[in-house]
Symmetry: C2
Subunit: 432 residues, 2 copies
């Protein structure tokens, strides 16, 4: 920290009663945090308030007393429950004055759509005395920037497409001189085939040592539901030195986790598999049973995937496995539909039927029904048929949707390992 001084600390307040219900979370704060962190400003506190004026007033007092920067999102609309502008102005003792420029722009905006501006929208032209107006090309509510006793306070509209450009543009620029040239750099390492606790066990002794280094590197482990991610970040005055330190740290993790590293630049497994296929000029086809199309849906989430995704067969019934993939009925009878021989026949069947380079076969028990002692829920057999063939049986934890997601990600990861000639041993392989 010595190289970077004491970072500024920020509070983020989202205003909107809908974010206090059981169905909706505030996500604007993630964008705000990203911009603040990029300036080396820590987010120390986040809160959600409804449209209760006294509550917001008290919360604002709490935030302004403790933090250097306070960013509010939402509550700048034209209706009576849009309270942010009023509460901030009254809390700071600033009179609200109608701004002629803002009013003119509002009226123009409505005129351009051929309608008269409703009277309620006049409220959006009220500006606390001394505040700077932040332009909003994507909506009616302008943002506001207030400097008050050394603190910086920004009021931003709630809709993300209005808030984001304002935060990344004018608010960032106004914060820049305060941030003291401290920058926060970040790397994201994506990992597959290991549990979160195993990744921690392997990497913790290494990343713990970075905290005392100069520049210090902080590490966070995240389980995203698809991958495990390691986030490395450092706060520096000299971006080149920071980048060098992060490069070295990433190299240490790569050495520790080797074949389990999907990417060191945040790309997900579907993108990495797509890139590997495109690089080789190879095409892929999948035969999916328990994943129900999720593997192919993930592959085709990538723009341009039609270059390498030829077709897939979702063979949910045994009849479809036989008719469309050429799986022998005797193989199903002898080994069961959830077995490595059937997965392999599915992979080879779809590869050869499509005339492509890589075939994938997946058959398993997503649950909640269909499990047995020999093949409990979560058992999934997979095969990848390329120039050589590979089969594996996995046992995934969790409910139906967790098993489906784990199975789809693991199938793509198996393709990645086969394409790159890497070990296919992972934490998920079934213990027999």
């Amino acid at each position: 920290m010595s190289t970077a001084g004491t970072p500024l600390r920020a509070a983020i307040i989202a205003v909107g009663s809908e974010m206090l219900t059981p169905t909706r979370v505030d996500t604007n704060s993630l964008t705000v945090t990203e911009v603040l962190n990029g300036l080396g400003i820590d987010v120390a506190f986040k809160a959600v308030a409804g449209d209760h004026r006294a509550d917001l007033d008290a919360l604002l007092g709490h935030a302004i007393a403790r933090y250097d920067v306070v960013i509010l999102t939402g509550g700048l609309g034209p209706t009576a429950d849009d309270v942010t502008r009023d509460v901030v102005a009254s809390h700071l003792g600033l009179p609200l004055l109608e701004d002629a420029d803002v009013l003119a722009r509002l009226e123009q905006r409505f005129a351009a759509r051929g309608v008269r501006m409703p009277d309620v929208n006049r409220r959006q032209a009220m500006v606390p005395s001394g505040a700077a107006v932040l332009g909003n090309p994507n909506g009616t509510a302008p943002g506001l920037w207030i400097e008050h006793r050394g603190k910086a306070i920004a009021l931003l509209p709630g809709p993300p497409r209005e808030m984001k450009p304002m935060m990344a543009g004018e608010v960032r620029e106004r914060l820049l001189p305060r941030s003291g040239h401290v920058r926060l750099l970040r790397r994201v390492i994506v990992i597959a085939g290991r549990t979160e606790s195993r990744v921690e066990e392997i990497t913790q002794p290494t990343y713990a040592s970075w905290l005392g280094a100069d520049p210090a590197i902080e590490t966070t482990i995240l389980a995203t539901g698809r991958h495990i991610e390691l986030h490395l970040s450092t706060r520096v005055m000299d971006p080149a030195a920071g980048a060098r330190a992060l490069d070295e740290a990433v190299a240490q993790i790569v050495a520790l986790l080797g074949p389990d590293i999907v990417s060191c630049d945040g790309r997900g497994i579907e993108q990495v598999v797509g890139d590997a296929l495109r690089q080789r000029g190879w095409r892929i086809a999948c035969a999916e049973s328990c994943t129900g199309g999720l593997v192919t849906s993930m592959l085709t989430d990538v723009a341009g995937s039609s270059e390498y995704v030829e077709r897939s067969i979702i063979a949910y019934s045994n009849r479809a496995k036989v008719e469309l993939l050429g799986v022998a009925e005797s193989a199903i009878a002898q080994h069961g539909a959830v077995s490595e021989p059937v997965a392999l026949a599915m992979a080879m069947g779809v590869r050869d039927g499509a005339g492509v380079d890589v075939g994938v076969g997946i058959t398993g028990i997503a649950g909640p029904g269909g499990g047995s002692d020999a093949r409990p829920v979560g058992t999934v057999c997979m095969a990848v048929a390329a120039d050589r063939v590979h089969t594996r049986t996995f046992r995934f934890p969790g409910g139906r949707s967790t098993v489906k997601t784990f199975a789809a990600v693991t199938a793509l990861d198996l393709v990645r390992r086969v394409l790159n000639d890497l070990s296919i041993e992972t934490d998920w392989a079934r213990r027999r």
Copy 2:
């Protein structure tokens, strides 16, 4: 409100530095909110704090001063950055004492796994004087319940599978006597084929009138990215009267939106289509191009879907459309791969090939590439072939993943409308 008195107001505080980064939000508060709302308790304030002791202490002071109930989640682990227990005890002036029962249970838990309890875990046996211990069958951190000057304060572990049963169980029971027999009842109406603003336009005059009724009904419109949802809620002393009022309100919405209502009990489109198929004893097969398997993946998210999902073909290439679905090459040449005749041939081809009752064909341009003036990005042609056939062309807004999701939901909604003999006109049909 007069029937129900003044509801208690609650604050929720999530503790954990990872929720102050740009990648992770607090979702525990949604579960907590659901339980509190079920007791008629309003959530007035939510916040996230890191592991900074002075910050958490000040936040706690703010929350306890203003709200009747304060629920904290997270920060009860064994390590030094798990600060919740210490900060709450010191803020309230309660000495922390080692609890022999908690310690014994912790030691048993480790012994059962055949390991000695690490010394750090002793911290989890420290209990603020006068607090009640909340059992945690799913982890090492017990919860804590503290009554302090009329306020109720609960400390819950961060992992959702530990927090949820504790909140829905012991915390709910302890709050019950405070909640004054007020209950919050809720209904979720799921809507497809309409934009959020169109749903608002149609329903707003009706639901606005419910606010003045007795009991008053509050309405929220949510766009979930898949559906539009109307959430109706009422706060009552008499659950039977509340249920009658909600039934009547739901009936008014059904009369207004008719064929656009997917369900009045929160079931999503994939569940509703599955139920309709099962009821008729019908089976389905899909031929997907631009949705890349997402339609079938959604259908197979439903437990038991193997009863009615026979197979699907993801025909990403034209060759796959011809070889696997019997689409005439001349039809592709004449009308283009993205056309109603090709969608219809795909639907009939997969239906007849699978020998099922319903076939679905989807072909479109998800983008970002591949668009033209005649068929811009977002254009998707669909067909449903059942006892009769239906085709439609849609134009969806947004980027690749939005178009894919909208197309998949709309395809399932088209199946729902065809199965139930409903109008298939929606807001998304392409204006020619």
